[in-house]
């Protein structure tokens, strides 16, 4: 299944609702383009909603890291929302769980961004 991205803006935070697989190839490119597009439009508060991500491989993990550093280097913030158990476990194993700001609730995630 290919990856899909839907974008919405809530209280100044751009939420990317991702679904499908983030893997080498299409999924990784899709997320990369989506984050760059958000930055190009001037939004620097980005919340990646991973609730519907069914699978992620090491390339997908790398893409999340690249998105995180790209947004950070642009002076913005990128946070993760609604990790599935599989993604949560992968971030634990790779020690990235402490690098990312991970949220479980959309409202509190939005309010956690700097004003």
């Amino acid at each position: 299944m290919s990856m899909k991205v839907q974008t919405r803006l809530v209280d100044g935070v751009t939420i990317l609702d991702l679904s499908g697989r983030i893997t080498l190839g299409e999924g990784s490119v899709t997320i990369r383009d989506a984050v760059r597009d958000v930055l190009a439009k001037g939004s620097k508060k980005i919340l990646l909603n991973l609730a519907e991500i069914t699978y992620i491989d090491s390339s997908g993990i790398g893409e999340l890291v690249s998105a995180f550093t790209t947004v950070k280097n642009a002076g913005g913030e990128l946070k993760l929302l609604n990790l599935t158990k599989k993604v949560h476990d992968l971030l634990q194993i790779t020690k990235l769980y402490t690098v990312f700001d991970v949220k479980d609730d959309e409202a509190s995630a939005i309010s956690s961004f700097s004003k």
């Binding site: 080498l24 491989d57 090491s58 390339s59 790398g62 893409e63 790779t94």
Partner: protein
């Protein structure tokens, strides 16, 4: 009479992402048939996918003239997966540690780490040319197979 818990199947595939997906799916089915639970089968499939990605991307560099081979062997003791490419070879001892602070934010370099995390044994063998990875997941008495 053949042992019903023993089976072996091999594929020769082109260097493409379609091949990676096929190998991943075969790994998941093989792990399920070997009696591994859903989480373990998923982990095995991910490890095998990472090995296949390495073979296609880093080994054969998508070269249409090169192939990868994949074999799946189920024995009473283990599920054994071998993935081989025709690339320039890989020295696993030279790979940087993805958990090191200076590497933690790198965008790549976690594939072999995940393979080792999810499998019980991982062995590298240099071919001429190429690299063969052998990935082994041990079965337990609670996983009798089908």
């Amino acid at each position: 009479m053949a042992d019903p818990t023993t089976s072996r199947v091999s594929y020769t595939l082109d260097s493409s992402l379609d091949s990676v997906n096929k190998i991943e799916q075969t790994a998941e089915v093989s792990a399920q048939r070997a009696g591994f639970d859903e989480d373990t089968a998923s982990h095995v499939a991910m490890a095998v996918r990472e090995a296949a990605v390495n073979a296609v991307l880093h080994g054969n560099a998508y070269d249409p003239k090169k192939h990868i081979t994949a074999s799946f062997e189920t024995t009473p003791e283990s599920l054994i997966v071998r993935i081989a490419d025709q690339g320039p070879g890989l020295n696993p001892d030279t790979l940087p540690d993805p958990l090191a602070p200076e590497n933690i934010l790198r965008g790549s370099g976690r594939g072999i780490f995940l393979i080792r995390a999810f499998m019980d044994e991982v062995n590298f063998r240099q071919l001429h040319p190429g690299t063969e990875l052998t990935l082994i997941k041990h079965r337990t008495p609670a996983q009798p197979g089908t």
